[in-house]
Amino acid sequence: MKKLQILGPGCPKCKKLAEVTEATAKDLGIQYEIEKVTDISEIMKFGVMMTPALAVDGQVKVVGKVPSPDEIKKILD
């Protein structure tokens, strides 16, 4: 079970990242749960200054951009 967290206050790019991540996780067929972290002080606890960001099992993997599905595949594998 992988825990995928999307960090971002709810801007369009954050939504895009959530969509791409979810679609990729489904494609790979892995067990996952997705959580959207929208609270600024929670986001800060990850050490992230630029949103959107993606954390996998508490580890920040992507900061400040929406990566391509291929990049997300590499991160999730």
């Binding site: 992230v48 200054m49 960001a53 400040g64």
Partner: protein
């Protein structure tokens, strides 16, 4: 499907329904308001869309795609040189804050993980006001002096507010979050930075030329033989409205007069370099556009171009409905606003007018870019240039929803002081601006 978004859609539908149901179409004031809403929308569509908004969206997309934001944020990290941090924080809104929703997380990050209170406050004050679209649209719609005043005022006073905040709270410990700063290693740039810079410069020049305006300086000869210098403000089929550049009988320099076309015997454009550029602006813009296309074709990977287009499209989806929706609503409301009331509150360059404008700007929420049609409408109703700038400075930096988030990040006292500083500074800048460029 989330409840929140569905409820928002429901609320929008109910609003449209209520308006459609209850709008008193027979009322002449309402009819006039509807007409004005469409007139303003058409004016934006004809004058500001193709030459200004569209190229600016491409530039915004290119900035996000080709400039590494991580390398900018590096200067705002915990170990950064303070002088450099202030300088970078106050101007980096240009590169970083293309979308206003990214300002708050960056502000919180600079404050809690990075350079600290001063640079964070500076960034928060100037960031939202100096993105490419806001700069060009303010200069184009509200006038060059206000556009320039907005940029210079935002950057200068960002530094001052930042320094004051840092000085006032130099003893207060910030609750530093124990987290390692996550800034991605900047990817090795696929081309030399000068190429990217030249590329962006050509695009900005394209915008500057395509958006070049006719200053309208003319020499007018009336049919009764008077000769005077003036600036054309507005021209319709039968009449021309001028602002005088010299005294004419009872009218003084700066007064606005209306002449019907049969009163005018001759109207000649005065030759200035601005006018010369205006006449050849499409050739210059075309040249820059061609250069951009050639550079994009020779230097960039197909993938990058696709990403650029995708980012541009994202901004378009985000900003265009806001801007044009805002223009429409503003056109409608401006007819219903009592002109006398507006002139009474913000019609002169007094301390009170400037204070009222900056307090309203501080608490009112302006959706991205809508501050421009709003101030434009207020100016038409008689708002003075000083309060206009005060509103433009205080407006995007703070709003009630913003204040709530900022409070959570830095606590009540610091937020209160920041609000007071923003109000006071914006009022002062407005006052000075109003004195010199009123």
């Amino acid at each position: 499907m989330s409840w929140k978004t569905e409820l928002k859609i429901l609320a929008a539908l109910v609003t449209i329904f209520v308006v459609a149901y209850a709008l008193p179409l027979g009322n002449p004031k309402i009819q006039q308001a509807i007409q004005e809403a469409f007139r303003l929308l058409q004016w934006y569509a004809r004058n500001h869309t193709l030459a200004c908004v569209v190229p600016a969206l491409f530039i915004a997309g290119a900035i996000i795609t080709f400039l590494s934001q991580a390398s900018v944020m590096r200067y705002l990290g915990p170990k950064s040189n303070p002088v450099l941090a202030y300088a970078v924080a106050s101007v980096s809104g240009c590169v970083l804050a293309v979308c206003s929703c990214s300002v708050l997380p960056m502000f919180a990050g600079i404050y809690q993980l990075g350079a600290g209170l001063g640079p964070a406050s500076a960034f928060l004050y100037s960031g939202p006001a100096i993105n490419v679209l806001a700069i060009f649209l303010s200069a184009r719609v509200l006038g060059l002096s206000i556009g320039a005043g907005r940029v210079i005022g935002a950057v200068t006073f960002a530094v001052i507010i930042g320094l004051l905040m840092a000085a006032l709270f130099r003893k207060a410990e910030r609750t530093k979050i124990e987290a390692a700063l996550q800034i991605p290693e900047p990817e090795k740039p696929p081309r030399h930075i000068s190429k990217t810079a030249l590329y962006l410069a050509c695009m900005v020049l394209f915008l500057v030329f395509s958006d070049w305006f006719n200053p309208g300086n003319v020499v007018v000869k009336t049919s009764d033989g008077r000769l005077f210098n003036a600036v054309v403000i507005h021209e319709t089929k039968d009449t021309v409205r001028f602002q005088l550049e010299q005294d004419l009988g009872p009218e003084k320099t700066g007064d606005k007069i209306m002449l019907s076309k049969d009163e005018i015997a001759e109207m000649q454009e005065r030759k200035t370099w601005v006018l010369t550029v205006y006449h050849i602006r499409w050739y210059l813009a075309g040249l820059c556009g061609l250069a951009v296309v050639i550079m994009a074709w020779r230097w960039f990977e197909r993938d990058e171009i696709r990403e650029w287009m995708l980012n541009t499209w994202q901004f378009t989806k985000l900003l265009v409905p806001l801007l044009f929706g805002g223009v429409f609503v503003v056109g409608f409301v401006s007819v219903l606003l009592p002109e006398k009331q507006v002139a009474n509150w913000v019609g002169d360059n007094s301390l009170r007018s400037n204070l009222v404008a900056s307090v309203i700007g501080t608490f009112w929420y302006f959706a991205t870019l809508t501050e421009i049609p709003i101030t434009q409408a207020l100016m038409k109703l008689g708002m003075h240039n000083g309060p206009v700038l005060a509103l433009l400075l205080a407006g995007p930096a703070l709003s009630l929803p913003n204040i709530l988030v900022i409070r959570k990040v830095m606590g009540n006292l610091k937020t209160l002081v920041f609000i007071i500083l923003v109000v006071v500074m914006s009022t002062i800048v407005g006052l000075f601006f109003g004195v010199f460029w009123g």
